[in-house]
Every structure is written in structure tokens, then in C-alpha cells.
Symmetry: C2
Subunit: 416 residues, 2 copies
């Protein structure tokens, strides 16, 4: 195994770490939760000060004419470049769940006579709840079929077996939030299309971490989150992709911002063309505008380089866990083959929550906990060093040996 | 008519003007568009710097445990105090249009057998579009009936005449975005209730400007905007009120953030109690957190004092328009009786758009234009002086006399 000093020295992405804010009071902090909330880009801090003090404070309403109005489309197009979309196929809007609802209802309406949504149990709980809400909105004959998995890996065969002539829509998370399982977009889209079903992807845990080409895959719809690998800021708006090849889709929550000419204030106004028609109301400008910096940095770094480093980091972590931590009760709960893995690795441990608290409070490592017994370690290539991988292993070993786990056994934070 | 010097000197709210940022480069600016985008509270600028640099930049994901998670409920409760709600009846979520969709569908589902939504043509176009989307989500038998008005005033008789045993829901803007017509909440709620209909109010142009008591009025549901009189910032999230007396309502777009225990990641999770169940996905934290400052300032000033000054400002403006501007083609297009008027006044002018541009670019007065022929002047008592009213009249007179209108006749800004 190469030395981390060599790997970090030759890392073509190493200098991107300086694009982000690192707290000087916590120099030893290893932040492995960028898959939940990405770090603050320095240029976002600058942009925010300008947005608030000048654009809001001084220019006031005039700022709508000086760039605000186009933010959902402009930032959407930036993200579009990361996911193989054409200009106009992606906009920022709402949050992932509301976008998913819009996409799912739009898809179901475009598939008269078919009444089933197919998903799996590795999908984010909110996605499953939302798909059920979409089915309920459509009527009592609509159902959501949930493929049961082992919680770690999906299988194309299983998708094939569950597809039928009632399947209107296949909706999956490209990277599973727990195990990090990574679907091959093209394979699933092909299966769905052959069966007459549409596809609606949740790219929350893949965008900015994995190369994505929705056009090549012939995906119909997609949504995703901007505050994970895109570093857009806490709760930053989601994006929605609507393929230009499918003009069957219309926004089921049609509102003024998504019409052709919002400032005519005409309630008979027609929806805007493309993904723009899927915007409903006024977007949160501060939270939306800052998504641009994160997306720009990702484009500058290049998704292929990000992916290569992500594989190297996660692979190294898995190997070291297997070598040093199995005897302490840890087990890798993510796909071992990098072809099928996103940029995070989950570890099973019977006391995962206490281990997580011990890491945070005694060792300055931030992973996250997913009940009942998983710790997730997100490796964000833009600001995670190879040395961080080895240091994390070291610290995991230390909390396993020095009694820290028992010290944190009975602490129940609000957010575990 | 009293002198503005005396009025400003004795104004109990005068010192609140200093709570807001005023651009030193534009000392003569008169900002009369606070009903579209409220000014930046100085404490929001401070809060934003802390939110971004410390909470996001340094504390990272830990901030979810250090206050972020409760923001929608905490800020919702602040707003609740301004609208006569109990704790837990109001949350921040989405934008006004998406909240309205949720409220409308929830109301329709609670009224089996009734298939009609009643609204009027003074309602914001997005509201009418959204009510139609809600009806469409429910099924082909659902309809939206739009009461036709003269565009300036509503009438209770007209509501009474349109209510029937098919009316499931009455949904109106408490203050009409164009004319400023102000409905009496209690009167309309009483009519609706007597007819077996539920009520869903849009408080966007009334919250922070008009005393509101949803509990006393026995309103069922309400939504509203936080970036107008509440000064929450551009596109800041909306709020939704769900009466605790009506537990029939459930969120039709049910997502993880609105469940009882979001961090269990259980897709069978039940909705949270109260308005909390109407949150769907992760809220935009930056845009949400800043709403607190604006709501706090409004509570500190006191809504009764705000309303008294609002009436005085708008009444003075109307009187001066009638005295000095009618001969230049201006006509008041708002209710003359302050009992039925919110905090803005619309003026008709055949060249309203050019007048607006001339005011902005030559006279440093910012109103807004509503096509085809209205200018809106919003009087926000927290930072508008009596002197601003008289100065605006003076400047309107000047652009009418000095040829400015013809200079701006052919300018068509993106946002008119």
C-alpha cells in the first residue's frame, strides 16, 4: 500500500482543499460527512456577503432584474453539465422530496393505463413516502412496489423480475444513502424502457461524486440534492431534470414562477418550456445562489478526476478496515467492488451510535450514524486527503481500545 | 393636514427605521416596494455572517444538532404570534405556492362529497393556478370557481351568493396583491363555516401589516409569504398554518422532515403532530433562519402600532394623490376606506410602466408596476417616514411635468 504522503503529494485535486473553509480552531478535524453536508466553499462565503449586504441590502427589489430571476435556470444549467443534460433540462427548485413528487406525478400522468411505481428498500425513506404520496394523488388504483434487497446491493435481475406491463415508473436512488450501492444508470434505463416504463432518478448521493450521463442513458426524469457533494449549503434547493425528449411531462404543481411570462400576472399563463415549467413558486434566493460556487468548483476539478480519487479513498478505507478493525466488531456494509459503490462507505458495528459519538467528541472525526447499527464515512475528493483515511482508521482503533465507546453508550443526541 | 416633520417627530415607530440597512450611496432613495421585498434588517446581516462562516463553515453537520433542525418550527411559532396561532400551528416550509397546494389538497380530502373551491379574480395568479392544480390532483369532478370582481373591492354578499353545498373550500388572499383590498377574516370564515366550507387564507400581503387573529376567526388553514412585510429576505420560505382544532388535515406531500422521528429513517414513519407534519423535505437553512429577525422586529414594534401608522401613511398618500395628481392622469385604484385596505395603494395611470421607470431612474423612488396600467406603492411602517409620502407625491408631479414619462416610454425591463 502506497504511503499517504506520496499519494497526497501527487494528488491532482489536492489544491482544491484550499477552496474550502477549514476551521483554524480544529486543525485536526477529519470531516467525513460531506455526503450529508458539504463544506463551505470560500467563494460562497464571499458571494453570500455580497448577496446579503449589496444585492438585498442596497439594490433591493432591483436585484430581481440584475440576476436573481435567472438563478434557478442558470445554476440548473451548471448542474446539467455534471449530469449529461442539455441546457434548459435542469432547474433548481424546492427540495428533493417536493421535486420527486412533481416528477413522479408527471410521469404517472404520462403513462395512462399503467398504475405501478417500482422502487427498492435501499431508497431514501422520504423518496418512498413521496412515491406513495404521488400514487395517492393519482388515485386508489396506483401502488408503489418496493423491491426487497439485502440492504447492501441491488441487482438488475431483481429489477427485471419486478418490471411488468403495469409498471409506469421506475424510481431509484442512483447511490443508496445507506450502503453506497451504485446503480448503472444505462442498464436500469434500458430495462425500464424495454418494459415501457419511465425512469425517475434520485441523484442526491451521486451528483458531484460519480460521472453521470442522463442523455446517454436516456433517462426521463431526475432529481437531486445540492448540499452534499455539490457543497451548496445547508438545505440548499434541489434540482430537477426533465428530458427534452419527453414533452409529455407537465408540472402537477403549476405556479407563477414556472410560467412563460411570470410578470404578466395572468392566471391563464402557460407553463415555461423545458424544466423551467417545473418551478412553482419563488425560490429562496440566498440558498439558491450559493449552489453556483459548489457546482463551479466541481466542474473545474473535473468529475473523472473526482471519481478516480473517490475510488482510491474508499478502496483504501475498506482495505484498512478489513485489515485492522474486523477484530473490534466492524464490518464493511458497502459494496466491495468500486464499480457498484458511490463515494461513501458504511461500517456495521453493534454499537455504531456510541462509536460515532466517541469519534466526534474524543477524536475529532465526523462520520454519521444511520440507525440501528451503521456508521457512514463520506469521502469527498475535493477536500479529503489520503492521510485522513489512515488517520481515521487509527482513531477508530483507538476508540475501540481505550474505553471511549462505553463512555458514549448512553448519550442520545437529538440527531444521532 | 399635519406637517410631516411633526408626524415623523412624534412617530412611536420612527426609531425602527434604524434597525434596517439603508444604502449610504443613495441617501434620497424612497423605497416603496417593501410589500414585494422587505428591507434587510441589520440583525439579519449579522445573523447571516454567523450562519455561513461559523455554523456552516466551522460547525458543519453539527449545526443540525445546535439549532438548525428546529428552525421551521421555531420561526413558525414567532410568525404564529403575529397571526393569532397557538404554538405548533405554524411552520416554515417551501414557498407560498407549494404550501397552498398542500393546504388545498388537505382541505379537499377532508371534505368528501364536496368538489368546489371558491376564490376570486383578485387573488394572486399563482394562487389560482395552484388551486386548479389541487383540484386536478383530486380528480376531474373538482373545480375552481372564480368570483369576478371590479378588480378593486370584494363583497361579502358576492361570497355568500357563490357559496353552495358543493363548496368544499374558500381560498382568498386576505389582502389583494393589486388593489390592496382587505377581507375581514372573521366575516368570511363565518360565512364559509355556515355553509359547511373550510377556509384557506393567503396572508402574503397582510402578515406583518395588519392584525390577524386566525384563532378568533376560526380559520382552518393559512399560508403566507415572509419576504414582504416580514423582511425575511429574497424568496425566503413561506409559512403554513394548520388549525389544531382540525386534525382531519394531512400533508398530501408527506416527506421525511415532517415525520415524528425523521432520524429513524423509517419509511413507515407517521407524520409529526400539528403543522410540523406539513413540512416535506429539508428546508433551505440560510433563507429560513433569517426570517426570525424580521418577525422579531415586527413583534417588538407591535402590530397595532404598525397598523395605525400604515393607515395614516396610506390615507395621507391617497388624499395627496387626489389633491395633486388626478389632473396628470392618476387615479387611486385601491379601496378608499382604510377598513378594507392593506398597506399598499395602487394608482392607475395609462402609462404606468413608463411612470414607474421614470420614478426609479430619475427620481430615486421605487414602487412596482403591475400590468397593464397600475403602479403599487407599499408603505411599510417600520421604515417609511411621513416625509417619504409627501416627497413621493412631489416626485410623481415632477415626472408628470418634466417629460420623464416620454423618455421611459419604450424601455422594457425584464421585470417591468
Amino acid at each position: 500500500m502506497s504511503s499517504t504522503t506520496d499519494l497526497d503529494a501527487s494528488d491532482p485535486l489536492a489544491h482544491f482543499r484550499e477552496q474550502f473553509v477549514h476551521n483554524l480552531d480544529e486543525p485536526g478535524l477529519i470531516y467525513l460527512d460531506g455526503n450529508s453536508l458539504g463544506r463551505l466553499p470560500k467563494r460562497s462565503a464571499l458571494a453570500a456577503a455580497n448577496l446579503i449586504n449589496d444585492q438585498w441590502g442596497n439594490r433591493l427589489i432591483r436585484s430581481w432584474n440584475e440576476g436573481w430571476f435567472e438563478i434557478p435556470n442558470r445554476v440548473g444549467d451548471l448542474i446539467g453539465k455534471l449530469i449529461g443534460a442539455h441546457a434548459g433540462e435542469v432547474v433548481l427548485a424546492d427540495n428533493t422530496s417536493v421535486c420527486l413528487f412533481k416528477g413522479a406525478v408527471a410521469a404517472l400522468k404520462a403513462q395512462p393505463g399503467r398504475t405501478e411505481i417500482l422502487t427498492d428498500d435501499m431508497n431514501f425513506p422520504s423518496d418512498i413516502q413521496i412515491l406513495r404520496s404521488a400514487a395517492e394523488c393519482m388515485g386508489p388504483e396506483y401502488t408503489v412496489k418496493i423491491i426487497r434487497t439485502d440492504g447492501i446491493s441491488g441487482s438488475l435481475d431483481s429489477v427485471r423480475n419486478h418490471l411488468g406491463d403495469q409498471t409506469a415508473l421506475v424510481s431509484l436512488s442512483q447511490v443508496a444513502y445507506k450502503s453506497g450501492w451504485l446503480w448503472d444508470l444505462s442498464d436500469v434505463c434500458k430495462l425500464a424502457k424495454n418494459s415501457g416504463a419511465l425512469t425517475l432518478w434520485d441523484l442526491s448521493h451521486s451528483v458531484g461524486a460519480v460521472p453521470i450521463d442522463l442523455t446517454a442513458a436516456e433517462a426521463d426524469l431526475a432529481v437531486g440534492c445540492t448540499y452534499k457533494y455539490l457543497n451548496g449549503g445547508p438545505g440548499a434547493p434541489a434540482f430537477i431534470y426533465v428530458s427534452q425528449n419527453n414533452n409529455l411531462f407537465s408540472n402537477p404543481i403549476s405556479g407563477w414562477y414556472g410560467t412563460e411570462n411570470p410578470f404578466q400576472f395572468d392566471f391563464e399563463a402557460q407553463p415555461a418550456a423545458g424544466a423551467g415549467g417545473f418551478i412553482t413558486g419563488t425560490p429562496p434566493i440566498l440558498s439558491s445562489a450559493l449552489v453556483a460556487s459548489g457546482a463551479e468548483i466541481t466542474l473545474e476539478a473535473g468529475i473523472e478526476k473526482i471519481r478516480a480519487k473517490s475510488i482510491a479513498l474508499t478502496q483504501r478505507f475498506i482495505e484498512l478496515v478489513n485489515e485492522h478493525l474486523v477484530s473490534y466488531g466492524f464490518q464493511v456494509a458497502s459494496p466491495l467492488d468500486s464499480t457498484n459503490r458511490g463515494s461513501h462507505v458504511s461500517l456495521f458495528h453493534p454499537e455504531a451510535q456510541a462509536v460515532g459519538q466517541a469519534l466526534i467528541h474524543e477524536e475529532s472525526v465526523i462520520p454519521d450514524f444511520r440507525p440501528p447499527d451503521l456508521l457512514r464515512f463520506g469521502f469527498t475528493p475535493l477536500y479529503t486527503r489520503y492521510a485522513d483515511v489512515d488517520d481515521t482508521i487509527e482513531r477508530l482503533k483507538r476508540v475501540s481500545e481505550n474505553g471511549a465507546i462505553s463512555r458514549w453508550r448512553h448519550v442520545n443526541p437529538l440527531i444521532p
